[in-house]
């Protein structure tokens, strides 16, 4: 425990867009979903993000963070997180953000996290700093959605206010999923999001493309 510092302030720092993990470079395949005409406006963007949270990597990441924060083996969770990525771009997305997160957290708080996939690295830091893990999962999900929303705002394009409305509307879902993740175990990890997977594969071949996934 880092004495004297409000754990919520540390959490907000970890999930702030200013924390240098390079999240802005990754669209999780949304760029291809927009290019293919599957996401065309605020309503379809919200639907796509809801699917990421409900059926996609949002849920798996929530459980991975929660398990890491509850003390499961970081190396095993990392192998699984890496193995579950359906495309090279999605593998780089979680691996590179995780490595950057670990490097910064190690330097700032004196931790010794190895290079881990993003949700596992975050869970490792949450455990090492004794931060409230269910709150960490909520913030992980919200920052993930907010980053993708901002990608959508630029690509579709949408107004900034529309983007903020989507982030606000999905708040309750972040809270609900975090509560479920707090009780989940390894076997609860899984997705059913074939088109989200397909879009991340198709994004790799998109010309031109702005995002790295």
């Amino acid at each position: 425990m880092t004495t004297g510092i409000d754990p919520h302030l540390i959490l907000h720092q970890l999930f702030s867009p200013a924390f240098p993990v390079g999240a802005f470079a990754w669209s999780h395949g949304l760029e291809a979903a927009i290019a293919d005409g599957d996401v065309t406006g605020a309503a379809s963007l919200q639907g796509w993000l809801t699917a990421v949270l409900t059926h996609g990597a949002g849920w798996s990441d929530a459980v991975l963070l929660s398990l890491a924060a509850r003390g499961a083996s970081l190396a095993e969770l990392d192998d699984l997180a890496r193995a579950m990525t359906p495309s090279a771009a999605r593998r780089r997305e979680t691996a590179e953000q995780g490595a950057a997160f670990a490097a910064t957290a190690n330097a700032v708080w004196g931790l010794d996290l190895p290079e881990l996939c993003y949700p596992v690295a975050v869970g490792g830091a949450v455990r090492a700093l004794d931060l409230p893990h269910e709150h960490a999962v909520r913030l992980l999900l919200q920052s993930f959605l907010a980053n993708l929303t901002s990608a959508g705002v630029r690509l579709i394009p949408l107004g900034q206010t529309d983007g903020q409305k989507i982030t606000a509307a999905l708040g309750p879902l972040c809270v609900a999923r975090a509560a479920e993740a707090a009780l989940a175990d390894l076997d609860d990890i899984g997705t059913f999001s074939p088109l989200i997977d397909i879009h991340s594969q198709r994004q790799e071949a998109l010309q031109p493309r702005i995002f790295r996934s």
Binding site: S44, A83, P86, G190, F192, Q201
Partner: protein, 284 residues
């Protein structure tokens, strides 16, 4: 007690209502080795409702056809197939028919545990026909593959949610479908499909499957597999994708409105990936 008679869908659903549950069991094990230029059976064991048939071969590779004599899978059933391909040998496994996952009474899902081991310079093609999930079905399935360095794997699993042409609704499903690949003791790929509740409503979501009722997942693991990626991308329609996750690992996902349209995309892809004939059961 074993069920030995193949059921059609209608009679199965009717006969099961109110009847005491009968649980099917089936286990089969196959070891393939190389003898001169041919791949031959080195060990074979079968019990219960799991059978392996060996049609007349047309190449030096061995063809094995899996047959579920219970005619489908329902809650509480347990099936497993284990296949080992020894150094330099080659085998293609397929199924005699699409596997049908029938209405399960609340409680246990049907369990399927398949294990494949591929040695150095050995080849294994895992090409079962489609798995059809009916309303109120429950399936917990794992395909776990151990691949030695230099081994070659092509694995495809297809899921069909009801038969669209028959107007079948699939409202309630419990699905856990896992495909794990291990190399040098390390998990290198894992597909973990997890679907609960109203399958149709979820498949209809634009971001999930856009109304598709069929999907395929294909894994290719062999040295230099990534060289296939441009060819594959040329073959795929908009509702499909392929990625070279590493230099030696390619993964594809395909969705389609129904099983027929899935095959239209999938069969040419499998022919390209198999480097030879694919099982006759796969020809449209």
């Amino acid at each position: 007690m074993e069920r030995a008679i193949p059921y059609d869908t209608a009679s199965l659903v009717t006969s099961r209502q109110g009847a005491a549950p009968q649980r099917a069991r089936g286990h089969a094990k196959l070891v393939v080795r190389r003898r001169d230029a041919q791949s031959v059976i080195s060990d074979l064991a079968m019990s219960g409702s799991a059978k392996l048939l060996f049609p007349r071969r047309s190449t030096s590779s061995l063809d094995a056809v899996m047959l579920n004599t219970a005619g489908g899978i329902t809650g509480g059933d347990r099936f497993s197939y284990a296949a080992t391909v020894e150094e330099g040998a080659s085998v293609t496994l397929t199924t005699q028919a699409a596997e049908r996952i029938y209405r399960a009474s609340p409680g246990a899902p049907g369990y399927v545990r398949n294990h494949l081991e591929v040695a150095e310079r050995a080849t294994l093609h895992w090409l079962p026909q489609e798995t059809i999930l009916f309303d109120a079905s429950a399936l917990d399935r794992e395909l776990s593959v151990t691949l030695a360095p230099g081994g070659r794997l092509l694995a495809c699993e297809c899921l069909i949610f009801g038969r669209k042409a028959m107007g079948e609704d699939v409202r309630q499903v419990y699905l856990r479908d896992r495909m794990d690949l291990r190399q040098n003791g390390k998990l290198v790929f894992s597909d973990r499909l997890r679907l609960d509740g109203d399958a149709q409503a979820q498949l209809d979501l634009a971001a999930v499957a856009g109304g598709a009722r069929a999907m395929a997942s294909v894994l290719i693991a062999r040295p230099g597999a990534s060289a296939l990626i441009e060819t594959l991308r040329q073959m795929l329609p908009e509702c499909a994708g392929a990625s070279a996750i590493t230099e030696d690992l390619v993964f594809l996902r395909i969705v389609a409105p129904d099983g027929f349209m899935l095959r239209e995309t999938l069969v040419p892809v499998l022919q390209e990936l198999a480097d030879g004939p694919i099982p006759k059961t796969w020809m449209i």
